[in-house]
């Protein structure tokens, strides 16, 4: 039990740190942080349940007022903002990503993990994000999708990288995959 708690808490800290360390730009000049990749990695590395709990823990602390989101954002205000759907979708995205990655681990590891991260971290996450934006901003789902579309390419890149990074981590620490 201690190990589960520390893995969840330390991964939550990792997700926060990925948004706060300025040098972790994914590609030079492109202002996308590695934080949302941390959400996919939580699922693929810790598994569905622990991954979702790690993400929930981050959101809990953000709601309490800690500036743990990328660029030092935080507080209750982010849950009233237009991107609240993405935040609510985060734990679900981590869960779905982890669940699929665990189920498909037998196949080609990098590819199947990347596909799992794409389904959980892009398709499922954007479903939440787009519904949230349409409710807060008073737009139809189609209009919201049109506005959010610009962020999709960056997140597809993150899903592919999640495949490579997960493979590397599980090869270096094989004990993790067994839970």
């Amino acid at each position: 039990m201690e190990r589960n708690i520390t893995l969840i808490a330390l991964f939550a800290a990792l997700i926060a740190a990925l948004g706060l360390v300025p040098k972790f730009d994914l590609a030079s000049g492109v202002p996308i942080t590695a934080q949302s990749m941390g959400v996919m990695l939580a699922g693929t590395i810790l598994g569905a349940r622990r991954g979702a709990l790690a993400v929930l823990l981050v959101l809990f602390l953000v709601a309490l007022g800690l500036p743990l989101l990328a660029g030092g954002r935080g507080g209750l205000g982010v849950f009233a903002g237009p991107t609240v759907g993405f935040l609510i979708g985060w734990p679900v995205a981590a869960f779905v990503t982890g669940w699929l990655a665990g189920a498909w681990r037998g196949g080609a590891p990098v590819l199947m993990t990347a596909i799992a991260a794409f389904i959980g971290g892009v398709i499922v996450l954007y479903a939440f994000g787009i519904v949230g934006f349409s409710l807060i901003a008073g737009k139809t789902l189609l209009e919201s999708t049109a506005i959010m579309w610009v962020f999709v390419p960056g997140d597809i890149v993150k899903a592919v990288l999640t495949g490579f990074i997960t493979e590397g981590v599980l090869r270096a620490r094989p004990g993790l995959a067994r839970g």
Binding site: A9, D25, R73, G81
Partner: protein, 199 residues
């Protein structure tokens, strides 16, 4: 660990956290009934007025916290300008900015410990087992302690990369960074097992 709670004292700092949270919840729900630009702008003006007792520095901190919403304000207003429904756009934007500002105000005037205490009260009210509440408290403490540690280790990894390569550090650093966090987790788990009772 940096917190968003403001050091500038305001009357709101003295108000009980539970009351502030409840008021925020009720107002956030009621705000969706605002339907004309005049109503929405009056609501925004009212929320801005709540910041005034804190003075200029407090107002500036509040404005800084609103910055992430700005791109969306521009997008929504531009959208409504093109579709010719500017009034509806103003209602949406004014309500959005006011609600985010109001939520930020609660965060800025409530200490982390008070928030945690209210959460603990709520969990006790839900009759969650004490063991679960202790685990949550431990997890919260671990994240607060280890986020700055990991930020420091991540920065060191970036510097190590820069010392050895002319290329910018990129996603490749995430792999060793994740390993640092996972290894720390194993060590902390061992230390807890050695020192603590059953969690």
């Amino acid at each position: 660990m940096l917190s968003l709670t403001s050091d500038t004292g305001t009357p709101w700092h003295k108000a009980p956290a539970g009351a502030k949270l409840l008021a925020l919840l009720v107002i956030s729900v009621l705000a969706f009934w605002l339907s004309t630009p005049a109503q929405a702008l009056a609501f925004l003006g009212l929320v801005t007025a709540l910041y005034l007792p804190g003075g200029a520095a407090f107002l500036r901190q509040g404005a800084r916290l609103l910055k992430p919403v700005l791109p969306f304000v521009v997008i929504i207003l531009a959208w409504h300008w093109f579709t010719g429904a500017v009034a509806a756009g103003i209602v949406i934007v004014a309500r959005l900015v006011a609600l985010v500002a109001l939520a930020n105000l609660v965060t800025m005037t409530t200490r982390l410990q008070d928030m945690l205490d209210r959460v603990d009260d709520a969990l006790a009210l839900l009759r969650l087992p004490v063991r679960w509440r202790r685990r949550l408290a431990l997890s919260v403490a671990l994240v607060i302690r280890f986020t700055p540690v990991l930020v420091q280790k991540g920065t060191a990894l970036g510097q190590a990369w820069r010392a050895r390569s002319v290329r910018r550090p990129g996603w490749r650093l995430v792999l060793p960074f994740a390993l640092v966090a996972l290894d720390d987790a194993e060590r902390v788990a061992e230390a807890l097992r050695a020192r603590s009772g059953d969690l």
